[in-house]
Amino acid sequence: MSGTFVGMPAFPKAAHEAVRDERLRANLRHATHTIRDKRARAVAELDDWAALREAGKRIKDDTLRHLDTYLLQLEESVTAAGGTVHWAADAAEANRIVTDLVKATGETEVVKVKSMATQEIGLNEHLEAEGVAAYETDLAELIVQLGEDRPSHILVPAIHRNRGEIRDIFRDRMGSWGRPAPDGLSDTPAELAEAARLHLREKFLRAKVGISGANFMVAETGTLVVVESEGNGRMCLTLPETLISVVGIEKVVPTWRDLEVFLQTLPRSSTAERMNPYTSMWTGTTDGDGPSAFHLVLLDNGRTDALADEVGRQALRCIRCSACLNVCPVYERAGGHAYGSVYPGPIGAILTPQLRGTASEVDASLPYASSLCGACYEVCPVAIDIPEVLVHLRERVAEEGGRGHRLERAAIKASTWVLDHPGALTAGERLASAARKALPKRLPGPGARQWTDHRDLPELPAEPFREWWRKNRT
């Protein structure tokens, strides 16, 4: 079973450990830089990228403003097409609904398409506790599941693993889950993909229940859309008799036509392709083609809390492309695990604290897991102003208190006073320069010491800049 995020330390502590892991940093640097350059080229092919981005943003904003109307319309369309719609207010309810549906089929195993929503609610762990084996079929998810690991990237959950590590996991672990890896498996990506194909094929062919998420749900037609590359999604959506899709309520779009925007922006932002290899679209059930039973579980689980925040609600526009992770200097160095959530990186830093609240130490630390450089906003295909939301959430965390945050506010107040009083500033600067030999590299005292746990104090210059300017330039 996959690892868990429960009880994770706050971001600074987890990141501090991660940045010391040389191999992790090398894997992340290689992967994120590869995709970063490709994405830029794929986006540059479209002259109207800015217009597509703006349209995507507005479609999502309209959806969120009238979310109740569109969800009801979706429910009606899906039901009319032969599907059954369930509503889950939180993770526990969604898990219960899915487990009951699986048990009603009499099956004890399910095949799964990669889905952020089911990771978010911990569905696999819940099913396991209820005696149902859930097999992940996306290559990266398979690597994570076999390695008893945690996902570290939205699109490529095993991005922290290089080919050699993946080979070792397949060689050592596949046998205990089903068909073992071929003898003499090398670490070439093609051979690793072939090993996954062989390992999972038997599971696809006998599967009676498939579980998925969805990238989009079209309110007017009741159509669900899954965008993928490997064909594991098609297997899970097509071969089983029962299909259960767990989808966040914000994944609805109003019209069929709206797909023309997202099917252009998502693949290019995500895998840097003009189009991903496979996109499946289905509406309810179809006689003689695919599952004969279809259940849609609409998941809230904190989304309505995010929706209630005027600034923060834009995070619900997210189409999970992961472009913001791939350009983020903090993510590149800290890795996905440090974010303590299935949603890592810049989007995770604004989404997780809104979905889960900021009561825990790790959730309260997430809005600070950023240098506010703004690269995430630049690449976002639905124009989520992530830095704006980060700052907004920092205010919220600071208002809610905690020692460190009171100190921060006190420090800002003190510096404002000093900057407003030039005499005090000059005296302070001269004193600091004169005493610079005696200054430690780390700050003493509670709060201040924590700050220098992760930073070296800058060297003080021989004389203050203002002093130098007065002597040399006036």
């Binding site: 479209l46 109207d48 217009a51 703006e54 349209a55 507005r58 904003d61 403003r65 109740d68 969800l71 009801l72 369930h86 509503w87 207010a89 609904i97 079929t137 290559l139 990266a140 490529v156 991005i159 290089n162 080919r163 993946i166 093609a190 690793l192 993909a193 194909r197 094929r201 696809f204 062919l205 590359s229 490997e230 064909g231 098609r234 297997m235 097509t238 071969l239 069929w256 023309e260 099917l263 392709e273 003009r274 189009m275 290899p277 496979y278 996109t279 499946s280 679209m281 289905w282 179809t286 003689g288 083609d289 695919g290 809230d300 309505t304 809390d305 929706l307 209630a308 005027e310 609600r313």
Partner: protein
């Protein structure tokens, strides 16, 4: 269940209560990025399909049977799945054993079938995509998924459009749709693209002109 439905809807309404109406969706993006000339469009489709490792061939209606036979033979395909409604003449020259999907083949029978031959509903030049909608000659979705070799016939120019915005209005949302852009692939190992995972590892596209 009913309770949660009411609760979630009530929470949504409370969350957006009094929120301003967002600006209307402006669809001022381009309907197409490629020039509106059938020949150029077919070249672009060809180029983009090939760019994602599909094997692309050109032929005329009279040449389809021979080309299908040659491609199946070259790939060593001894058995071929046949969707209902596939034009008989397309398989007129092959020696491969035909397995008509009527009654439906089981997943295991499909797994034991070497290839499948289909038509398509529409092809998109800018993205190198073919779309299947389960219509005559295309079959149900599993048919083009489980066998390892997929031969897809595209009739040009009538089935070729420039862009995604021009493809969507030609598709019926109520039908199960599969959009295919090259053979199955993954970027999951070091974000480097590798072709060939669970779907067909070989995709042969036959562009037919002069119909």
């Amino acid at each position: 269940m009913t309770d949660s439905r009411a609760r979630v809807l009530a929470r949504i309404r409370a969350a957006v209560d009094g929120a301003p109406e967002p600006p209307a969706v402006a669809r001022d993006y381009l309907p197409r990025h490629a020039p509106d000339a059938p020949g150029a469009l077919l070249d672009l489709l060809h180029e983009n399909l090939a760019d994602y490792r599909a094997h692309v061939h050109r032929t005329t209606p009279d040449g389809v049977a021979g080309l299908v036979a040659r491609l199946l033979a070259e790939r060593g395909a001894a058995t071929v799945a046949v969707p209902p409604g596939l034009p008989d003449e397309w398989l007129g020259a092959t020696e491969a054993v035909r397995r008509l999907d009527e009654p439906r083949l089981t997943p295991y029978e499909l797994d034991g079938t070497d290839a499948v031959v289909t038509g398509c509903a529409v092809a998109i030049a800018e993205t190198g995509t073919i779309v299947l909608d389960g219509g005559p000659g295309q079959g149900r979705r599993a048919l083009t998924l489980v066998p390892d070799l997929h031969l897809c016939v595209v009739r040009a120019p009538e089935q070729v459009v420039a862009s995604v915005p021009l493809a969507l209005p030609r598709l019926a949302p109520g039908r199960p749709l599969t959009w295919i852009s090259g053979p199955s692939a993954t970027s999951d190992i070091e974000l480097d693209r590798v072709e060939g995972v669970h779907g067909p590892r070989t995709l042969e596209v036959l562009l037919v002109t002069g119909g």
